[in-house]
């Protein structure tokens, strides 16, 4: 097990090299000159040239790449071209925010998705099943910003309902922006978690259906086990195996897909940093964030594989 983990960690090295080469070449391939973005409108030619020189953009590409990798290996991700700030510091400040956001959303998505999926599966082809499917597909078709803004309208600004409506007539319960306190976390987590919840629900449904038909579920029933326990203990643990893959994929997606949610709720996370720095052609920040995101993603995949093994001791990791 430990060997497996160590091996996978070693395997990340080529992946990271691949990622860095890819990002590096793509960033240089696409038009857009960081010097010009920095200098802005109306800057004279010679000055743009100065900036270029200062940023080392006039060196040949392989040199630039090697310089980057050499210092990256030593833990120095460079400084932002735009602000001159340390890339590691820029990422560091945002890293945990994004990770937290992704983790909470995943927890929510798993929770909602599992419950919906299980209910769907145990009441196959009933009205409830169909309703859940339609709700799930709504969730899937609803862009994050839309849901986010709606939630802000409802639960941060509050909507005016007649006063006789109990409970919901003053719904300004949560904060519209920022990250940290409970009231700030709730809305972005719901926004981000919904899409994944929909996918997990669909996946749980089909996976549960496979498991519920299997022999060992019948064995459990033949033992006199209560139906709830049959479903939530015996069936679910087995059904989780394919679900875990999806959760892993979703979690990875959340890291990147958080951009819209982050900007709607003014959450200062990595997603926004990536977009902003791509648009500013801030090469070091882009490279740094993509590397960190990849690392995180690989880590998540590793956790997924370990979780597999935990759920089903039979899966041979090697």
């Amino acid at each position: 097990m430990i060997q497996f983990i160590i091996r996978r960690i070693l395997q990340t090295i080529p992946v990271l090299i691949g990622v860095s080469i890819l990002v590096f070449s793509m960033m240089h391939l696409v038009p857009g000159d960081p010097a010009q973005v920095i200098a802005g409108e109306g800057a004279p030619q010679e000055q743009i040239e100065n900036i270029r020189e200062r940023l080392g953009l006039n060196d040949p590409l392989p040199t630039q790449y090697l310089n980057y990798v050499t210092s990256a290996v030593q833990g120095d991700l460079g400084t932002s071209m735009r602000s001159g700030r340390d890339v590691s510091a820029e990422i560091g400040a945002r890293f945990w925010v994004t990770v937290e956001l992704a983790i909470y959303s995943t927890i929510l998505a798993v929770f909602l998705g599992l419950i919906a999926g299980i209910i769907s599966a145990t009441r196959k082809y009933t009205a409830i099943d169909t309703t859940i499917m339609i709700v799930a597909l709504f969730g899937l078709s609803m862009p994050n910003f839309w849901l986010g803004l709606m939630l802000i309208q409802w639960f941060a600004i509050g909507i005016d309902l007649p006063s006789w409506v109990p409970f919901f007539n003053n719904t300004a319960w949560f904060s519209p922006s920022g990250w940290g306190s409970f009231s700030q976390i709730v809305l972005p987590v719901i926004t981000l978690g919904t899409g994944s919840a929909a996918i997990i629900a669909r996946m749980t449904r089909s996976s549960m259906l496979d498991v519920i038909g299997s022999d060992y579920i019948r064995t459990a029933r033949a033992k006199g086990v209560k139906e709830q326990i049959v479903i939530y203990r015996h069936a679910l643990k087995n059904a989780l195996i394919p679900i875990v893959t999806v959760v892993g994929l979703q979690f990875g997606g959340l890291l990147g897909g958080a951009v819209l949610t982050e900007s709607v709720f003014a959450v200062n996370g990595m997603g926004k940093l990536i977009i902003d720095s791509i648009q500013a052609r801030d090469f070091p920040v882009v490279q740094g964030t993509v590397l960190v995101a990849s690392l995180l993603f690989i880590l998540v995949n590793l956790i997924v594989d370990v979780a597999y093994r935990f759920l089903n001791k039979r899966i041979d990791l090697d």
Binding site: V30, P31, G32, D33, Q36, V37, I38, A39, G40, E41, G42, A43, P44, Q45, Q47, I48, N50, I51, E53, R54, T79, R82, S83, G84, R85, D86, A89, E90, A93, R94, F145, L149, I152, Q153, A156, I157, A172, S175, P176, S177, G178, S263, V264, F265, A266, N268, K272, L273, I278, Q279, A280, R281
Partner: protein, 511 residues
Amino acid sequence: SEPDEGGNSDSDGEGTSEEAAEGGELVIANQSDVVSMDPAGSNDTPSSNVQANIFETLVTLDENMELQPGLATEWEAVEDNVWEFKLRDDVTFHDGSEFNAEVVKANIERILDEDVASQRYFLYEMVEDIEVVDDYTVRFTTEYPFAPFPAHIAHNGGGMTSLEVIEADYEAMENGEEPGSYINENPIGTGFFKFDSWNSGSEVRLVKNEDYWGEPAHLDSVVFKVVSEANTRVAELETGDSHIIDPLGPSNMAQVENSEGIHVAPQESVSVSYIGFNVEKEPFDDPNVRQAINMAIDKSQIIDGIYEGVGIPAVGPLAPAVYGYDEDAPGLEYDLEEAKQLLADAGYEDGFSTTLWTNDTQERIDAATNVQAQLQELNIDVEVEVLEWGTYLERTAQGDHDMFVLGWSTVTGDADYGLYPLFHSENIGEPGNRSFLQDEELDEMLEAARREGDEETRLQLYSDIQAKLTELAPMLYLHHQEFLLGVNDNVQGLTQSPTGILQLHDVSLNQ
């Protein structure tokens, strides 16, 4: 609530301060984060908005775009190309160090330093020499006579940083750090607010400078926080989490107006939005075509449709607030018949097909879409293409475009900066002239105007230039934007300059 016009008019804060409560923390929600705390290390409004409170300039521009004394008490052109500034002698920096002529020299020289490669270089590129006459007198020699120099000195880029941090910054540069890295962390100026903290991407906090040389600010502290989504900023304002939101999108105006306790504060600006023609490409090489398009567009549709009626139609590139603007300058009125005629004269009575580029700003896309629809009338078949910002800048600088939507803000408030970078042939491409206009006569006029010391003559020159630009029509001038702020009714004494900078010195909060 009604828009609070009063907040804008009684600008010289002195009067209102008696009844205003002291202290409190003002929260401002901005669209973007500060790029850098170093006045030489950024060139964007959010950065300037923060820096303007920490760093002061020798001369300042008031909300009417008039020059007022700042750290300098007086200034004059001692020669054609030599400007002398007399400095205050009672000013100290936040770190206790003294403000004097040496500091001014070091600051401006730093901007001109090739190694620093400052984004504010364009402001002082004409400076040849800086001479410390005495402790409180400094002289700038320019390469050529440069009339708008005080306006350039008034720009935020000329904010004064403590000499000690400049030296520390150079030291850091020698150790391989990026320029500005030290100043960024230690922004030491002379302003009425001091730097407290900066949580990158999230918020900047400033606290009151108790030892300010002038009258200290009313507020205890100011927080500039980043809320990039327009709708969320409105929510911030509605919930009271922020006192000011900057900017407020036109489409959100109704919402703010309909809510209690908050209002919209508009401010005319020095910017223009325009659609540029690539005059090197057919059919835009023909001034008739360019004029025809100018006349075929009903600008009020754009202002009403996209900006909810906020802003004024542009006649030329200069906004009314800009020094040198001529309100009598001739323009091309909306006249579809005339436009058709002109087009026919140019041999395009059946129209033509072309492309219109825009970046991804929603308003620009919308403007492009509207122009596209309006040009249908002339049988001009326009294809709108949206380009990502970085790509857009590079490709328009290369002249790959036919038409493009862009804007320009005359940040110095002087016509020179509103015209020279956009239309002088020397600035073709990247520096700003993306119409690729090359007109010798215009070049000469632009050069003459910037060298002219006499105000009358200079204003006349700019009138001529504006007339000439109407005739050349290298652009379709769309409109002059109005800045919109969403402001909590508790905020008193707030003004915004036409360059977009919030004036916070006199602001107080009713608790």
